[in-house]
Symmetry: C2
Subunit: 347 residues, 2 copies
DNA sequence: TATTTTTGCTTAAACGTATAAGCTTTTACT
DNA sequence: AGTAAAAGCTTATACGTTTAAGCAAAAATA
């Protein structure tokens, strides 16, 4: 037996007034609506007794505003997105919003399905980590005037709200660090995608080489597909590190998942870090603590990314303006031993 | 400029019929409602042209059913819960449901807030990993007749729907394995909580000792608080492994987070596994691949837990019955070298 | 006392949807 | 031809909420 939730009507009947009066009182509009003191008191008392809770669905219908956000990440089981999701939920809650979520799995169709579902559920706005090739989906949102913010990655072709790490800068500094520490042939393993975060990271890598007077060698760049990336990362490493004359003397990894997988392979192959191979990772991981050499990594500011994303979305929702803002969040490099031939252990 | 979504009314006006007719047609009730062929055709055509999408909020209000679930986990940024969340979302989606989520952070107040918020948003049901001491919250749900399922943990005092791993069995087998492999003094590190999953795991541990004729020594059991557990885990390990005569010769860890943290400490302290200390973990982790000894661990069936949870909730929603079902999901032990003094490397 | 103002409430309409019930007009049957 | 049945639509109502507009009675003003 489901107990019926108490509605304004129930309270109105019990008190013997109209639902309008109850609504005025419970919304604190007693003054504007000139509600009598006695009635107001009785209504409040009865509402409390019956433990009245407003039906937000009905309110949502009335106002065309649900105070709900849709969050579409690539994969919620990826710790990076899970952390973002956690903070976003918190920030949303602070502002009276609740979060619907879904994983696109980097698949166009799933992404579109989630967008449609969320829109049909009348979310007030969307936070999206767009999948490769989803420009049309995003552009449609723009045309419809749906408030949304891209997070973690964006498209260079479309002007949108977006909050991303300063990826070029992050990678530029990482590679510069390697070079400063004496490495001559830094390589990079990245995902094979047109999404801006990858493009920017690769560009940062290349610019760091150029500014250091090192000529980029296409053999230093490995692009692996997102699907079964684990095998491809292993293969890429084998390519870099084959017996006769190593192609690279150091590596930066363009994402968290690539970092962890690469370290696994390096660990299994028994490659000496940083002597035989310098290494810099993207994002933190528990596994770093088990690597015999402390890992240098690029630390994204997840808190700032999430906060700015929610903030930007709120502005978009409130203002309904056509102005788009791109926010770039700085990252820092946490220095370990993995990026320095002259090991600083004991310093 | 937000473009107004097209409603039944818009279609009705364009076609020149009543909204009722449009509704009948678009819901495939042309036969029952005896709608003329010509009109039906025009309505469908216009609906497609205008790209009509039903407003699920309005439907929700009409039917008192939103096809939305609330998912409350302890912490979405914990990989264990993130994995569950991922599968639950998928299973929910298969059934036409969308998921609202939130992290309780093991805090009573947050848990209650999330429950309230979700109920006010008229979710059709809740999936909850209950926090310690939340019996009253859960019981209130029961009294209200809200469909819900507890996941991962439950309460022995309250009869509810619940889907949990067979925790007693899992831990029993793990400890038995240690003993079979020659360990005489198996210890355990667990969280200090009254939640059933911990109680059951500890009971499984004790029963395995008893059935093996080993007398339980209270020094073998360390209960650490959930807050700043990392320090407490380190302290517990120091207690177990102090210089003069080790208190235990092997350890089982009662959760994923305790496992990872313990392995970090063991790794940092340079303790030999499995020679000086046998080890069995709960749940998988990326970090296992970096440990010099392959880790034996209890592998919960996350897929089955999630599927059963959603399934059970659906039944609860559909039947509205007072019957509660408890589902226990078996786990398996993945054997590595960490639990065996006689290392089986090369076998 | 007659009029205006204020007070305290109710009615009605709306959001978008679904559906029972009702109302014409056409078709079928005797 | 006259009635019954079937076809094809519309109207009305509801879900729970909000809020403008309206109405009657009391209080204030002239």
């Amino acid at each position: 037996m489901i107990k019926k939730r108490v509605s304004l009507k129930d309270i109105a009947q019990k008190v013997g007034v109209s639902t309008a009066l109850v609504s005025y009182v419970l919304n604190g509009k007693e003054k504007e609506a000139r509600v009598g003191e006695a009635a107001a008191k009785r209504i409040k008392k009865v509402a409390a007794e019956m433990n009245y809770q407003p039906n937000l669905i009905a309110r949502g219908l009335k106002f065309g505003k649900t105070h709900t956000l849709g969050l579409i990440v690539a994969d919620i089981s990826n710790p990076f997105f899970a952390m973002l999701a956690r903070i976003i939920e918190l920030e949303a809650q602070k502002r009276g919003y609740t979060v619907l979520f879904g994983s696109s799995d980097e698949q166009l169709e799933k992404s579109q399905n989630l967008i449609n579902t969320f829109l049909n559920r009348q979310v007030d706005g969307l936070i999206i980590t767009p999948v490769a090739g989803s420009q049309a989906q995003i552009e449609e949102l723009r045309n419809k005037g749906v408030p949304f913010v891209l997070m973690d990655r964006g498209f260079s072709e479309i002007e949108t709200n977006a909050v991303v790490t300063d990826n070029h800068d992050a990678m530029y500094n990482a590679v510069k660090l390697l070079i400063r520490n004496g490495y001559k042939k830094p390589g990079i393993i990245a995902y094979d995608t047109t999404l801006t975060h990858m493009i920017d990271r690769i560009a940062g890598y290349k610019d760091a080489l150029k500014d250091s007077g090192i000529k980029f060698n296409s053999k230093w760049l490995a692009k692996v597909p997102y699907g079964n990336y684990k095998e491809h990362v292993a293969a890429a490493l084998d390519g870099f590190l084959d017996a006769k004359g190593r192609a690279v003397d150091s590596l930066v990894f363009a994402t968290n998942s690539i970092s962890v997988q690469s370290l696994k392979v390096i660990h299994a192959r028994g490659i000496k870090v940083p002597q035989d191979l310098g290494v810099i990772s993207f994002d933190e991981s528990d596994v770093f603590d088990f690597f015999y050499s402390s890992i240098t990594y690029i630390k994204q500011n997840l808190q700032s990314i999430s906060e700015n994303t929610v903030q930007s979305l709120m502005q978009s929702i409130d203002s309904r303006s056509k102005k788009y803002t791109k926010i770039t969040v700085p990252s820092v490099i946490i220095k370990g031993e993995s990026s320095s031939r002259r090991t600083t252990r004991g310093l």
